[in-house]
Each structure stands twice: as C-alpha cells, then as structure tokens.
C-alpha cells in the first residue's frame, strides 16, 4: 500500500507532548502538532509572548520536544534573524529557525520586525497562529479581530477597523513563500510547512486557529468553526511563491469551490456558533460580508496575475 | 609645545578632513595631535569649525578650541561671519586662502601673522571639484605645513595617499605640494 500523508503524520511522531497547559479544544496546539511533524527535530521555535509561552508549561519542564527560545513580544522575527545568521556563519544551514507566535505578537506589536526580516529575506519561518485577539492577556482586540467580534476591549463588538490581511501584506514583500492554513485542514497545513521547508529564505504561514474560550463556543466545536470559516469564504486557503519578479499564487483545494461566491455558505453559519458574535449588528455583518468580498477580490487578482504568461 | 588650531571653512570644503589629515601627518612624526569637530546642523555652504590640538606628549583635554594659536581660513568672509577674530590668541597666525593682493583684503594685517595661499586657483587648475565646489582642504594642509614649519610635506603626502589611494589621492597630494610651495608668509 502506498504511503499516504496520514502514514507520514503518524510516523513523524509527536513533538507536542501530552500534558501541556493549553485550554481544552485549543486550535493553536492542533496546528502546532502538525507544524512540528513537518519541521522535525532540527528546529528552533522562537516564541514571543503569547498563549504558547504559557501552554508550553512551567519551568523546569516543557511540553514541546524541540528547541525553544522564549523572547520578548515584539522581537521574535529579529531574534530569529540573529539565530539564523549565526547558524549560517557557523555552517549549520539545515536548521529550521521558526517564529511561532500569535496575531498580537506578529501582526501587531511585532509586525515591524516581521516586515524587516521579510525585507532582508532572512532564512526563517514566521508562522502566525491567528486566534483573532490577545487571548493570553484575556481576550483583548487585536489588529486581527474581525468587525463585530466582542472582546474585553470591544465590549459591544469591534466597530473600528477590519482584519489586517497579514498574509497579503507579507506576499507584497516579495518573499519566497507565503501561505494561509487552517486547523480544520491539517494535511494541507502539513504539506505547506513541508513545502516551505524546501525553500531557502523567508517563509510566512498564517494559520486560522479558533479559540473556544475567547470566541465563546463549546470546546468540541473547534474544527467545525474552523471549517465554516473556509466554507463561508471568511478564511481563504492559498499559497504563493515569488520567483523572478512573478507571484505564483494558487488557491488550496479546500477553498477552490468558494471562488464562486454562490457556493459559499452564508456568513451567519460561521457567526452563530460563537458567543463573541452573539450581539453582532446587521451593520457589522454587512461590513464582514464586504470584507470577505474584498479578500476574494484580492485573491482573484493574484490568480489572474499568476495565469498571465 | 602646545598648539591649538582652528579650521574655518564652509560645509563641503573639507575642513573636517583637513584637521584629521593634519593630525595623521603629525602622528607620523611622533607628535600627539587631536582632530576635533563641531557637528551642528551643517549644510553645504554654511560655516564649519574643526580644530586641532598638537603637542609633543599625550593630550587629555576634551573640549573645543576657543582661542587658537593658528587659524586656517578657507575664505575671508568667514572671519566676519563667525566673529573669527574673537577665537584667536593675540599673537595668532592666520593662514588664509586668498587670491590677489593680500594688502587689499579686509584682514587685520597689523594684529596677526598672516600666511597666504591662492588655494582655489591651485585646485581649479587640478580639477579638484566635488559637486561643483573647489575642494581646497588638502591644499590648505600643505599651506599649514609651510606656515608652521611642521609637519613635513612628505608626511602630509603620505597621509593623503593613505586616505585616498589612487588618482584622487595623487591629485590631492599635488594640491598640497603646490600650496606648500606657493604659500607666502607675510610678517606683521
């Protein structure tokens, strides 16, 4: 019987050890399990302040079986740059230097260091697990919180701002590899990380990871919520490579049907599960719909650009 | 021995580099020399100050020069513009870039020792221009050597060639040598 991705995932073993301290149903750790399977042992995770600085557990033990360097909130991509350059200087080029952080650390406060590392095309991965708010400090809005979502700093639902399209922003840096992923599609995530591993230079992967306590839904619904994000067109799965002045952009299989807006489920399907949207106004829903359209219009433009000869 | 030098130039003319070249050339002869710069909000053309402190033993002073023994002036208007005379000791020497008859200048010939060189003509002749501005700094270092009797022109040439290897260095060395030869010392 030929080996499937599932066999590969099983054979890869577990680098995330049971008995970590993430909340039950945490989307981020599901993603981390598969990311680490793809990366393997020769990996250094650089972790800024985030849920993952807590769920890795408490000194003198740690729940993750690869090397971890915990760093200050805004500094992760710069620390990773230093590590990567030092390893290269010492002749160790086949070590994965990986920033693993949340939307707060990588899309907001640490965005300058992420952008700087991208511009210098540092040989690092920046992998953002996006739970759409500052969960570690107790659910405050972030630049990645969608319109209408309630957080402790947007108690009636986020009114000001959209959701920062970080993956597109990174793509515009002209870095070798950018992808989005989603915990509901772990094999897609696994393959994207493996692909990124084969590329030298800056890699950015943006993973959608629902947070049961922060989004106020039942612990068991993480995968369902994540899948609905794709099926409603709210979260688009794609990967892109930049080579010789051209972007090669492709929609990933789970998102392909939804290029056709009529195939998408209504956004309400995604919203209704989540307490954070329980009091969402019609105006915010409209804003969300527009935002989704806008995200797809960008994707279409990149698809067209890739199709041109 | 303890000599304090002021360089009075305009932004772009290379007064700062001149003071550093001089210090470097003096060091080659076993002298201890500082080259000090006052950086403000210089723009091309605005007055610029640089200084040297020269001694035969290590200097531990770390301040600007307020009363110079020697002032190297890149053009005479700068003296009026900057209250230059107030920055001079009573028996100071002024080394000035000046074309034509020095007795027709506004310089206080009776107060100070004067050394004069037409550095602008030398560098125009050699084509030493940067961004359209004649760069007279190396010529003025040559004039300093003649007027003060130190360092030797050879040390200056060496310092110039170390700073700019190649054609640019040779042109600047030539400017320094010509200025050295053409400097006139006018007694008070």
């Amino acid at each position: 019987m030929p080996k499937t991705i599932l066999d590969e995932l099983i054979e890869a073993g577990e680098y995330l050890l049971p008995g970590h301290t993430a909340c039950p149903g945490c989307g981020s750790v599901i993603a981390l399990r598969h990311v680490l399977k793809a990366l393997g042992k020769d990996t250094i995770l650089v972790i800024p302040a985030s849920c993952s600085s807590v769920y890795q557990a408490i000194y003198p033990k740690v729940s993750i079986n690869v090397m971890i360097y915990n760093v200050a909130f805004a500094s992760a991509a710069a620390v990773a740059s230093g590590i990567s350059q030092a390893l290269e200087r010492k002749g160790f080029e086949d070590v994965n230097v990986v920033v693993w952080g949340g939307d707060g650390g990588l899309i907001d406060i640490g965005a300058a260091s992420v952008s700087g590392a991208a511009e210098r095309n540092e040989n690092i991965f920046v992998i953002c697990y996006d739970n759409e708010a500052y969960m570690n400090t107790g659910i405050q809005r972030s630049g990645s919180t969608p319109p209408g979502a309630r957080t402790t700093t947007t108690p009636i639902g986020k009114i000001v701002g959209f959701k920062k399209p970080m993956a597109y922003i990174m793509l515009m840096h002209g870095v070798p590899y950018v992808a989005t992923a989603n915990v509901a599609y772990p094999t897609d995530l696994y393959e994207k990380v493996k692909k990124a591993k084969s590329i030298k230079g800056f890699k950015f992967i943006h993973i959608f990871t629902p947070c049961p306590p922060g989004w106020r839904f039942d612990d068991s619904k993480t995968i369902e919520v994540a899948r609905l994000a794709v099926e409603t067109g709210y979260w688009i799965l794609w990967q892109a490579e930049y080579r010789h002045g051209r972007i090669h952009f492709e929609l990933s299989p789970p998102s392909r049907p939804y290029l056709d807006a009529s195939k998408r489920k209504p956004i309400e399907e995604f919203l209704k599960f989540q307490g954070r949207f329980s009091k969402i106004t019609e105006e915010s829903v409209k804003k969300l719909r527009e935002w989704i359209e806008y995200q797809w219009s960008i994707a279409k433009r990149f698809l067209d650009m890739s199709a041109q000869k | 021995m303890f000599i304090e030098v002021s360089w009075l130039g305009r932004g772009g003319q290379g007064a700062v580099t001149a003071s550093r070249l001089l210090a470097r050339a003096l060091a080659k002869e076993g002298m201890w020399a500082q080259a000090i710069v006052f950086f403000g909000a210089e723009r091309r053309g605005a007055p610029v100050f640089a200084y040297n402190r020269i001694s035969d033993k290590p200097i531990k002073y770390h301040h600007f020069v307020y009363k110079a023994d020697v002032m190297v002036v890149f053009e005479q208007t700068l003296l009026d513009l900057t209250d230059g005379y107030k920055r001079l000791k009573d028996d100071a020497m002024i080394i000035i870039n000046y074309a034509g008859d020095i007795t027709k200048s506004r310089l206080r010939m009776n107060t100070y020792k004067i050394a004069k060189v037409d550095a602008t003509s030398i560098v125009l002749d050699l084509g030493l221009l940067v961004a359209g501005i004649p760069v007279i700094n190396t010529a003025m270092v040559g004039a300093f050597a003649r007027a003060m009797g130190m360092p030797s022109i050879d040390s200056i040439v060496t310092a110039i060639l170390e700073t700019w290897p190649g054609k640019i260095g040779e042109l600047n060395a030539e400017a320094a040598k010509r200025a050295y030869n053409e400097t006139e010392i006018i007694k008070k």
Binding site: Y59, N70, V71, A78, G82, R89, K90, A112, S113 | -
Partner: protein
C-alpha cells in the same frame, strides 16, 4: 607590529569589534553612533571582517538579533546612542536574563526633546539597573581596548553577562587622536574564540530544551540572584582582564578605577569617561598652583567599585563628583552612587556634586578649576 594611527572614537570602537573577531553584527544607524556600524559594514562587504552584518529595521531588533546570534553560539556586537538605546531597552534588559555575553558600544548623547545630538551620559546611566557590565572609556585607545576587554569579561564562565562600552558623543566619537591598533595575533592570544559554556541554541549540538518559559516567583528569585552573583564575580574577572591586558599590550587604563594623583590628594574628583580625563588634564594646572587634587576615573560603573571608592574618599578631605547627567529631582547619577557608597562604608568625607556638560555643553578646564576653588573656600 602594532599600527599607530590617528582615528576617531567611533573608528576605535569598530576596530575593537574587528580585532575581537565578532561574527554577527546587527545595528541601526543613529547619530553619533552611525560611523561605527558604517565602518563595520564596509569591512564586512570588503571581506576584511568575516562576519554577518544584519541591517535591522530598529534598535529593538538590533539587540534582539544579537541576543539570538549570541544564544546560537557566536560573538555578537551592536552599537547605539540616546533614543536608540531607549528604544532598545526592553531587549537590553532581556540580554541579561538570556545570559548572552554580547558587547555594545554606546556613544553617549542627550535625550530629546528638544533634539540634541551632543554628549551626555544620562542615556547609558538609565540602563544602570539592567545587569549589564558598564565600561566608561576616557579616550579612543581606551574605547578600542575596552571593547576587547569587555568580550573577555562578558564571556568569562564566571560571568556570562552582556557588557557595554561607553564613549562620549563627538567628544570621543568624532574626535580623532592617536590610537595604537593592536596586532591581531596578540589580541587572539588575549581573547580566545567564543565557546559558550552554558548553552548553545542549536539542535545539531544540544538536546532540545526551552529557554525562558514561565517560572514561579520562588524559582525566579533564584535565577535573578544568580545574575547578581555573576555581577559580583565580574569584579575579579575585570581586574584580571585589565592586568593581563597590561602584560600583553603594555597599556594600563585602570581596572574598575584609574587613580591619578590620589595618594596625596586633599581633594579627589570622581567622574566618568572623557569627563574624568578632562579633570585629569586640569590637575596639572591646579597642582602647579599648589592645590593637591587627584582624580579617580570611574572606569567600570557596574559592578560599582564601592570598596575602592570608599578607600580613595577616606584618604581625602573632600570629594567632588562631576556628572554629565542628571536624575531629575535627585542629583547627578554618579553622585548618588558615590554618596550611598560613602554612607555604607561609614566614610564621612564631605561630597560636593557638580552637574555640567548637559547636552554637549562644553566642559572647560576653568569649570573644573572653579569647582575645586569653591571647595577650598569652604
């Protein structure tokens, strides 16, 4: 053979890093530091220095990158000034807990607003409590030599803490003066290649571990206490580093302090960096006038040389502390440290404090003479 050259303090700092064979440099430009990293970038591009130069997007990232590089086992260097140092300060503090023995040159400059690019020590003194070893250089030779010594001290297995080397903005950074550029072989003899004895962030070398995950208060206190122990160990390590430097290079900048004419001095002046050397220069004039003055150049501000200061002050009948810095609502920062030290050691020599040279205001010999004469009148 050593080369004898006339170079600026910033070039001397760059030479210090070059002779120390730094392997990763990450920096962001700021006046008056910029020419240090310009020089290093030039050497790296020309291949004269086998190092990686990371042109980061901020000072915060500069310190972050050198922490990462040092953790991964290389000798790392950066430099900054003023606002840049303050922007970086989160990571400055981080480097201590990370136990990354990086060295940083700080070209001291005043803080804004209003904008001011000239010399003042307040910037570096604001990092006083971070756990960095602090060297204060009084001239360009000392700038270069202190960087080499700083690596030796920082990387010592009894220490493993970052170290900074201070030089006054413009006063040293842009002032050229004779500097003996040491022979590389001699520097290599003095400073062995960096081999981290505590941890290396490299899965090819070490088993997986996590550095710095959450730690409960009782354990945290022990970890921080170990930093204090390392800082105390640094005292002897600095003394030995200075002594061996003298043996190899024949140059003595002092160890934690350099005393000048303190033996018979009635009045002793304490100061940092080039300000201390300016006071030293003024001594000659004062002594010629029969005033017995000495200068204690505080070369290392952290660890603070309390015992030495107490001894020097005890012999004198009056102490003057000159600060080119200010702690608003208190006094000069060095003055505070000296006064507390004398109290601790029960030395009752009177202390006069003088704040001068703020924002690059020139400190002239007559200012120092005046301060001394005021004390005499008392």
């Amino acid at each position: 053979m050593a080369i004898y050259d006339v170079i600026t303090g910033n070039d001397a700092a760059a030479w210090g890093a070059r002779l120390s064979k730094v392997e990763v440099i990450a920096a962001y430009p700021i006046t008056p530091q910029t020419t240090i990293v310009e020089k290093l970038a030039e050497w790296v591009e020309k291949g004269e220095l086998n190092a990686k130069f990371i042109a980061v997007e901020s000072e915060h990232s500069a310190m972050a990158a050198v922490i990462g590089a040092s953790a991964a086992g290389v000798r790392a260097f950066t430099a900054t000034s003023s606002q840049g140092l303050l922007y970086m300060i989160e990571m400055v503090s981080w480097a201590v807990g990370a136990r990354t023995p990086v060295v940083m040159a700080i070209v001291n400059r005043a803080l804004g607003p209003p904008w001011n690019i000239w010399s003042e020590h307040t910037d570096a003194l604001m990092t006083r409590d971070t756990g960095w070893i602090q060297f204060w250089a009084a001239n360009n030779q000392e700038v270069m030599d202190s960087i080499i010594q700083a690596y030796r001290v920082a990387e010592d297995k009894k220490v493993l803490l970052p170290a900074m080397v201070m030089l006054g903005g413009f006063v040293l950074s842009h002032t050229a003066m004779p500097v003996k550029i040491h022979d590389q072989n001699k520097v290599d003899q003095y400073l062995s290649p960096y081999e981290p004895p505590h941890y290396v962030l490299n899965p090819k070398i070490s088993e997986a571990f996590a550095y710095g995950n959450i730690l409960f208060p009782w354990d945290y206190a022990k970890v921080r206490l170990s930093i204090e122990k390392a800082m105390r160990n640094a005292v002897d390590v600095i003394k030995r580093a200075a002594k061996e430097f003298h043996e190899i290079f024949g140059i003595w900048h002092g160890d934690l302090i350099k005393e000048v004419n303190t033996d018979d001095a009635e009045i002793v002046i304490f100061a940092l960096g080039a300000v201390a050397e300016q006071a030293e220069a003024t001594l000659e004039v004062l002594r010629r006038n029969g005033i017995k003055v000495g200068v204690a150049k505080i070369r290392v501000f952290r660890p603070f040389p309390k015992e030495e200061i107490a001894k020097i002050a005890d012999k004198a009948s009056h102490v003057i502390v000159i600060d080119r810095d200010i702690s608003f609502g208190w006094d000069g920062i060095l003055a505070g440290e000296v006064k507390a030290t004398l109290h601790e050691y029960k030395v009752d020599t009177p202390v006069t404090t003088k704040i001068m040279g703020i924002g690059g205001d020139d400190i002239l010999p007559e200012h120092i003479e005046k301060a001394v004469k005021e004390v005499i009148k008392k």
